[in-house]
Each structure stands twice: as structure tokens, then as C-alpha cells.
Symmetry: C2
Subunit: 274 residues, 2 copies
């Protein structure tokens, strides 16, 4: 039986699978960890989930998600920061190593990209010490530029690195998700410069044609064009020693039984990433 | 009557409008130029189109498209280069200032992004002197990273600039299309570094949600999130003195009468770009 101890399974990959069953299956399957999302954790009960992952001997590689710092008015921005504080506390309760930041797109009606990026930097500056005090690293996730207007105005590894470098590495790091960064001509150089700043590594594959809305068309590893093995080696060369987390948003995958999706993710990980 | 002499209308914006009618309307409307595509030009007859644009006093700001240099086998790559030579000759016949290069995505079944980028560089090196001898600038168009796998492995202004800088500016330049580059955190810095290398400037707007396939969802200027006026000023600050070309691929727009689309493009250009 091949080694899955370096693999983490993000719960959104099998989003309709009850979390307790998913955690149990990941533990029995010999995986090293799981990636969790706030809403399903809340539904199952955060104390219960924290107990289940510990009993299963699993690491929580990430909690999704914080961020969405960009808003037209200061009151809304403050609400977002307050909610991110709660997310940090939830991550600490779960023993999650990182809180993933989906930083937010342009405020409704705005064309001020520089202004939105400033809001993100200000919010992270306000949250960073709080996260560090809780033993949680804020993981800035540069998202594919096709999400710049509505998901994240942080679009490249360089941009995320420059933002993260303003803070101690125990407070702010960078999440490397293959789907978002595989295309970047600066990829290898930037991974090297991230030296010790990578707070998480997520994989899936890039497949076309993209579906309408471009949110649920991510591919299972091996179905697309990303050289995931080479990317994993560069990420490790940059000093990342954490697990590889499989996170796939795919409408067809969500129709399948959770245990089947987990089994296929494990096979594909061993064949295309490990 | 406001000044449209700095505006060029790309024929694909009203793709079902017969080219002779489009050219006539652009000339009467006081526009400065048109952007053309090889197939409709061939249908209408290249000598006839060349005569019509000259009689209408229009500049041909671009001919689309050359490129697609990436292919698994050498024979196919050579065919592509030969076809690009014909495209250069067609651009010269039309008096087009540039041949737009859509460089090509990953060869079928390939995950070798660096290799594909090498094929692009090799092909441009082979074509550049030929283009210069014909008075045509090869305009490398960095395309949005969401097209990296299937349209162009050249995804950013920096990447396009570094490629173009290997050649004299009268042989190779960079096409700046707002749709492809608006999100880039390096946008302003890279436009400055392009100093004299910008061979063309195209505008439309970024609107979401993106349609399936992400090809025909471009927005009319003002309908989206791009600060087109600011972008035009940066492009001009970089030394670009050419026309602004409107190029919009939009399934709904294509259902409307050509003269209506042209009229709206002119209004939107004056309101949001000029």
C-alpha cells in the first residue's frame, strides 16, 4: 500500500460527504491531513470536528476561508475584519496551520484596482499579529487572474510574496494552488524567492473548456495540462515541508460518492504528484 | 461632432457585417482606422479591401492573426511559419502596421510549458527579419492567463516585452489589449518599460460572469471594471502614438446590426476611453 501520509484531502472536493464520515475515511485511508471549510465545520460542530481530526491522527492543513477584505464602505470592511478574527479563532480551535485568505475582488461598481489592493494590505496588517498570537498563519492565496474582479485582486505569486514579506513568516505566508499559478512565466523564480514563506500547497488540474462562471471546472490530477510533479518538487525546493492538499471544485465530481472521490484522488495523487 | 480620428474599429466587433459596408461606414463616420482579420479579407478579396480602406482614408491598425507557433511536430511548426509568412505579405498588401500574433497554447497532450514558449521564441526569430523587410511589425499579444493552455503561452506584458526586446522594434513589438492585461499587478511598470515597443492598443471591457469557453463574453467599454481612460493614458505615456482599436467578441453584440454596434462603440469610446 503506497504512502499517503503526505496527502491532505480538502473537504470541498467531496462537498456533499458528511464531514465526520470524510474525516474517518481519511484517517483510515492513511492520509496525513484534511483541509476544512468554515460552514461544514460549523454544521458538524467545531468542537466535535476538532476532536474527530485529532482522534483520526490527521493534520488540518488549511481552514477556508478568510479574506474578502474589499468593500466600498469602512463599516463593511470592519465587519469583514471582525469575521476574519473569528475565522482565526476557529482555525486555532481546529489546530489548523493556516487560514486561507481569498482576499476579495473589486468593490461593487469600482474600477479602482490599486485602491482595492490597498484595502487588502491594510486588512492583513490589522489581522497579522492577531493570527500570530493564535498560532495561525494567514495564507494569502494568489488567485487566477480570471477571478481578479470578483474573487481576489491578488493575482500572482510575486504580488502575494511582496505582501507577505511585510510581516513575520509566523503571521503571514503564501498559499500555492497549482490551478491559480501554473501559467505564470515567473513561477519557478517566484517559488524560489518564496523561500520559507509557502504556507500551503494545493493541487488539482487545469482542464478546458472552462464552464460558465469558471468556478466548478477544476480537473482531477492527470486530466489536465499542469506538470504537478515538477511543481511539487519546486515547492519543496523552496523549503515547504507540509502536506500536499487536493482541492477540486468540479460539478461532476460532486455528484459522485465521497469515498469514490477520495479513492480516485489518492490514486491520482500517487500517479501524478507524489 | 466629437473626434473619432484616433479610433479604429476591429471588424470582428461586428463580425457578420460585410467588410465593404463596414469600411464605408467607418470612413464616413470619421474614424481613423479599422482592424481586419484574414478570413473576411480573403472573402471580400484582398486587393479590393486594400483599395476600399485607402479610398476611405482609413489606416489598417492591425491584421489578425498570425501565430499558433506551438505544435508537437516540426512539420506542423514549419507549416505554421509558412502561413505566417503569407500573413505578413497580406498585412503588407493591406498597408497594415502590424500582424497580431496569437502565439499558441500547449501542443495537444503536452504539459511542457517551457518547451512551448521556446517554440514561440524560435518561430518569431525566424519570422522577424521577413516581417521587417515587408514593413510589418509582428505584434506579440500577451493573452489573459485563462487562455494559456489553448490560445497563447505568452500571458503577461513582461513576458511579451522580454521576447520582443530580442529584436529591432521595426520587426517585433507588443500588442496591449485591455482585456488581457488589466488585472496585472505589474501593468503600469511594464507599460513604462515597453517604451516605444507598443505596436497596438485594443480595448473592450471585463464583465462577469464569464460564459462557457470564455471566448465571447467581452464587454462594451463602460459595461465592466477596466479603467480604460487611465490605461490609454499609460499606453500613450509609454510612447504609443497610434490609434485605439475597439475589438469586442460578444455573442449578443454579434446579433445586432453592424451600424448599431459601430455607433455604440463610438459613443462608448468617447465616454470611457478618449
Amino acid at each position: 500500500m503506497s504512502d499517503l501520509s503526505r496527502l491532505s484531502f480538502n473537504s470541498q472536493t467531496a462537498k456533499h460527504w458528511p464531514l465526520p464520515e470524510l474525516i474517518d475515511a481519511a484517517g483510515r485511508g492513511g492520509l496525513g491531513g484534511v483541509g476544512l471549510w468554515r460552514e461544514p465545520v460549523r454544521e458538524a460542530g467545531i468542537d466535535r470536528v476538532a476532536h474527530l481530526v485529532r482522534s483520526a491522527g490527521l493534520e488540518v492543513t488549511s481552514l477556508c476561508r478568510g479574506g474578502f477584505f474589499t468593500a466600498a464602505d469602512a463599516a463593511t470592511r470592519q465587519e469583514r475584519i471582525d469575521d476574519n478574527r473569528r475565522a482565526v479563532e476557529e482555525a486555532a480551535l481546529l489546530g489548523a496551520r493556516t487560514l486561507v485568505l481569498v482576499c476579495g475582488g473589486l468593490p461593487s461598481g469600482s474600477r479602482d484596482l490599486a485602491g482595492a489592493r490597498g484595502m487588502v494590505a491594510d486588512a492583513i496588517a490589522e489581522l497579522a499579529p492577531f493570527a500570530g498570537d493564535h498560532g495561525v498563519v494567514l495564507a494569502i492565496e494568489p488567485m487566477h487572474p480570471m477571478y481578479c474582479s470578483d474573487r481576489s485582486v491578488v493575482s500572482t505569486l510575486r504580488q502575494a510574496r511582496r505582501l507577505a514579506e511585510r510581516f513575520p513568516p509566523e503571521q503571514v505566508g503564501v498559499l500555492v494552488d497549482a490551478y491559480h499559478v501554473w501559467w505564470d512565466p515567473e513561477l519557478v523564480d517566484e517559488l524560489a524567492l518564496l523561500d520559507g514563506r509557502i504556507a500551503g500547497f494545493q493541487v488539482c488540474d487545469w482542464v478546458t473548456p472552462l464552464p460558465a462562471g469558471v468556478l466548478t471546472g477544476r480537473g482531477m490530477m492527470g486530466d489536465g495540462v499542469i506538470d504537478l510533479g515538477a511543481l511539487r518538487r519546486e515547492v519543496e525546493r523552496s523549503g515547504y515541508s507540509g502536506l500536499t492538499e487536493v482541492e477540486i471544485f468540479n460539478a461532476r465530481l460532486w455528484q459522485r460518492a465521497g469515498h469514490e472521490v477520495l479513492a480516485e484522488a489518492c490514486r491520482r495523487y500517487l500517479a501524478h504528484v507524489a
